[in-house]
C-alpha cells in the first residue's frame, strides 16, 4: 500500500487538488454507514462517492473524492482500521472518474 506522501506526490503530478481514494470493501448493508460515519464523525470532507459491487457481490469497490490534502494521512489510516475495508489505494484517474456522472447530472 502506498504511503501518503506518495499519494500526494501523484496527486500533484496530476496538477489537481482532487484526491480520489479507491476502496475494496466487504459487501454488506452496513459498510456504507461505516465509511460515511467515519467521514462525518471525524469531520473529513467527502465530496463525491461511487460504489459498485465486485467479485460476484462478495466485495464492493468504492471511490471517494476527499479534497483534504492535510488530513489525507489520517483519512487513509482511519479507513485502513475499519474491519470491512480490505484495501485503500490512490485512484490515479480520479479527476476523470466523475465526469460522466456529472454530465448526466447537468444534462
Amino acid at each position: 500500500m502506498k504511503n501518503t506522501s506518495d499519494l500526494i506526490a501523484e496527486t500533484n503530478h496530476w496538477n489537481y487538488r482532487i484526491i480520489v481514494l479507491e476502496l475494496t470493501v466487504n459487501n454488506h448493508p452496513g459498510v456504507m454507514s461505516h465509511i460515511c460515519g467515519l467521514f462525518s464523525r471525524r469531520a473529513y470532507n467527502l465530496e463525491k462517492i461511487l460504489c459498485f459491487p465486485d467479485k460476484g457481490g462478495q466485495l464492493s469497490r468504492m471511490w471517494l473524492q476527499v479534497n483534504e490534502e492535510e488530513k489525507l494521512d489520517q483519512i487513509v489510516k482511519q479507513l485502513q482500521k475499519l474491519d470491512d475495508v480490505r484495501d485503500v489505494s490512490y485512484y490515479p484517474k480520479g479527476a476523470e472518474l466523475f465526469v460522466g456522472i456529472e454530465k448526466v447530472l447537468h444534462a
Partner: protein, 561 residues
C-alpha cells in the same frame, strides 16, 4: 453434526471463549438468549439494575483482568442505555463484547416495539459491530468479535442479534476455533535504530506513557529502559501504576491536574518518548505549546494515533512492549545526572502535597489514609470528578491495573458498577471505589447488584454536595456563577445504602472515625462510607481548559513562577 438454535450457539460459543461471567438485563428481544443462558453450567449471570451498569460491570472485569468482558442488553432502551458504557470502553480501548437483542428480522425497519437502529447508533462508538442476519453467521461473528476486541489496540465490539436469529435452528458440522488476538505487529528495525540514537543524543528526555503500556503488558520494559538510560517517566491518567509512585524516576501524571514540577519538566525536555499514548488534550494542554523544545518518538500499535495531533520525528508502529524490549539493550546507560538533578530541584520547589492537606479530613489526607488501610493487592476504582483527580494525584499506585478509571469519556457513574466487575473477577481481593455524591447518583441503583452479588466493594463517597469540578470551573472561569452545580438536597447516603441492604458508615456523624472503619474496609461484604468534604476544596494545580500546560493555577509555591 450439531442442531441448535442461534441462542444456544451464542452461549456455547461464549463458553468456548472461556467466559464465566456475563452482566446484563433480559427483555423481550433477548429472552431466547437468556433461556439458553439458563441452561449453562459454566456461565454466571449478574443481573444489573440498569444496562449502563451491566456495561460497566463488563468493563470492570475487562479492565481488572485484561481479558474481554461480556454484557447483554435487550433491544431499544436496553441498547441505548448500554451505549454509554460502550462509548466509554471505546475511548479507553477496553475489550468488551456487547450482545444486544433486536426485533425479528421481518420487523426491522417497521418502527416495531422497542426497535432502534442499534447497529447504526453503535458504529461511531465501537471498534467494530455486527448485525447478524442468520444463525449460521453466528459461528463466524462471535469468534471474530473476540478476535477484533483483543487484537492490536483493543476495543468494544457490539453484536446485534434479531430475535428470529436467536430462535432459528441450524445444523452444523463443527465448532469454530475461539477468537484469539492476532500476532502483534513489530516496529521496523531502521526506525528503531534511529530512535535509539536520538535517545542517546538527548540530554533531557522524558518518557510519556499511557494506557497502551497497560494493554501491552509493557510496564517492566518501561521501568528497565527508564532505569538504564535515566529517563524520568510521566504517565497519563490511564497509565497510572505502570511505574510505581515510589520510583525515583516517577513524575506522576501530566497535564491538567499534574504536579507543577511535572508540567515544567515537560517544558524543558528535549526529547519526548511517547509510548502507548494519544496526546489527549487533558494531558497535553494546548497542543501547539506542548513540549515546545522536544523532538518526538511516538510508539503505538495504532498507526492512526501517530501524527494525529503532534507530528512525530520517529514513529515506531507496533506493540509497545516489543518496541521497548528491542530498544532496551541498544541504548546507552546513564549519564543524565544533571537532568535528574534539575527535576529533583523542580519537585522540591513545587511539591504536590504539603502541610495541612495531609489531614484525614482533607481529600489528600483521606485518600492516603485509606491507602494505608487496604491490602497491597487492593484494586482502586474511581468515578469521575474531583475525587478522581485527587486519587490520581496522590494514591500510591504500584502496578498496572491497580487503578480502574474512566479516562477518555469521563463517565460519571462508572465507579460503582466497574468496582463490582473488578470484585467479580477477583473475589479474594479488596476493591475500593472512590466516588463523589454526584457520580454515585448516576448509577446508584447498582448498590442492589453489589449486595445481591455480595461483591466485596468498599464505596468511599467524597461528598461535597455538588458537581465539584463543574463548580470549580464556574468559580474560576464563569465569575463564580455557581449555577446548577450545587445540590439543594442533603442526601443521607448511608441510609440509602442500608435501604439496599448494605453496611454503611458516616464520617460526618460526629462519632465515627476513619481508623474505626479498618474492620469495615477489610470486611469482604460490600459497604459504603460517607465522608463530608468541604464544597470549596478544589483540585489544584489546574491548567485552564485550552491553555498551555505551563499556565497552571494554584498549587504550592505558585508565586515562585
Amino acid at each position: 453434526m450439531y442442531a441448535m438454535t442461534g441462542a444456544t450457539i451464542i452461549i456455547k460459543l461464549l463458553e468456548r471463549q472461556g467466559i464465566t461471567t456475563i452482566a446484563g438485563i433480559p427483555g423481550g428481544a433477548n429472552l431466547p438468549i437468556y433461556d439458553a443462558l439458563f441452561a449453562s453450567q459454566k456461565i454466571r449471570h449478574v443481573l444489573a439494575r440498569h444496562e449502563q451498569g451491566a456495561g460497566f460491570i463488563a468493563q470492570g472485569i475487562a479492565r481488572a483482568t485484561g481479558l474481554p468482558g461480556v454484557c447483554f442488553a435487550t433491544s431499544g432502551p436496553g441498547a441505548t442505555n448500554i451505549l454509554t458504557a460502550i462509548a466509554d470502553a471505546y475511548l479507553d480501548s477496553i475489550p468488551i463484547i456487547c450482545i444486544t437483542g433486536q426485533v425479528p428480522l421481518s420487523m426491522i425497519g417497521t418502527d416495531a416495539f422497542q426497535e432502534v437502529d442499534t447497529y447504526g447508533m453503535s458504529i461511531p462508538v465501537t471498534k467494530h459491530n455486527f448485525l447478524v442476519r442468520s444463525a449460521r453467521e453466528l459461528l463466524r461473528v462471535i469468534p471474530a468479535a473476540f478476535r477484533i476486541a483483543c487484537s492490536g489496540r483493543p476495543g468494544p465490539v457490539l453484536i446485534d442479534v434479531p430475535k428470529s436469529v436467536q430462535t432459528e435452528t441450524i445444523d452444523f458440522e463443527q465448532w469454530p476455533e475461539p477468537g484469539r488476538p492476532e500476532d502483534v505487529v513489530i516496529c521496523e528495525d531502521a526506525a528503531l535504530l534511529r530512535a535509539v540514537s536520538m535517545l542517546d543524543e538527548s540530554q533531557r528526555p522524558i518518557l510519556y506513557i499511557g494506557g497502551g503500556i497497560v494493554h501491552s503488558g509493557a510496564a517492566q520494559w518501561v521501568r528497565k529502559l527508564a532505569e538504564k538510560a535515566e529517563i524520568p517517566v510521566t504517565t497519563t491518567l490511564m497509565g497510572l501504576g505502570t511505574i510505581p509512585v515510589s520510583h525515583p524516576l516517577d513524575l506522576g501524571m501530566l497535564g491538567m491536574h499534574a504536579a507543577r514540577s511535572t508540567n515544567l519538566a515537560l517544558e524543558e525536555c528535549d526529547l519526548l518518548i511517547a509510548a502507548g499514548v494519544r496526546f489527549d488534550d487533558r494531558a497535553t494542554g494546548k497542543i501547539s505549546e506542548f513540549c515546545p523544545g522536544a523532538r518526538v518518538i511516538h510508539m503505538d500499535i495504532d498507526p492512526s494515533e501517530v501524527d494525529k495531533l503532534k507530528t512525530s520525528h520517529i514513529p515506531l508502529i507496533g506493540d509497545v512492549g516489543e518496541t521497548l524490549a528491542k530498544m532496551y539493550p541498544l541504548v546507552k546507560s546513564g549519564g543524565r545526572g544533571r537532568w535528574l538533578a534539575r527535576i529533583r530541584d523542580l519537585q522540591e520547589r513545587y511539591p504536590l502535597v504539603s502541610g495541612d492537606s495531609l489531614s484525614p479530613r482533607k481529600p489528600f489526607g483521606l485518600i492516603l489514609a485509606i491507602s494505608e488501610m487496604v491490602e497491597r493487592d487492593a484494586i482502586i476504582v474511581t468515578d469521575v470528578g474531583k475525587h478522581q483527580m485527587w486519587t490520581a494525584q496522590v494514591y500510591p499506585f504500584m502496578r498496572p491495573r491497580q487503578l480502574l478509571t474512566s479516562g477518555g469519556l469521563g463517565t460519571m457513574g462508572f465507579g460503582l458498577p466497574a468496582a463490582i466487575g473488578a470484585s467479580l473477577a477477583f473475589p479474594e481481593r479488596q476493591v475500593v471505589c472512590f466516588t463523589g455524591d454526584g457520580s454515585l447518583q448516576m448509577n446508584i441503583q447498582e448498590l442492589a447488584t453489589a449486595v445481591e452479588q455480595q461483591a466485596g466493594v468498599t464505596i468511599v463517597i467524597l461528598n461535597n454536595g455538588s458537581l465539584g469540578l463543574v463548580r470549580q470551573q464556574q468559580g474560576l472561569f464563569y465569575e463564580r456563577h455557581h449555577f446548577a452545580s450545587e445540590y439543594q438536597v442533603n442526601i443521607d447516603f448511608p441510609a440509602i445504602a442500608r435501604g439496599f441492604g448494605m453496611q454503611a458508615y458516616d464520617l460526618g456523624d460526629g462519632k465515627t472515625s476513619l481508623q474505626s472503619l479498618s474492620g469495615a474496609i477489610r470486611d469482604p461484604r460490600p459497604c459504603l462510607i460517607n465522608v463530608p468534604i468541604h464544597i470549596d476544596e478544589d483540585v489544584y494545580p489546574m491548567v485552564p481548559p485550552g491553555a498551555a500546560n505551563k499556565e497552571m493555577i494554584g498549587g504550592y509555591n505558585e508565586e515562585y513562577v
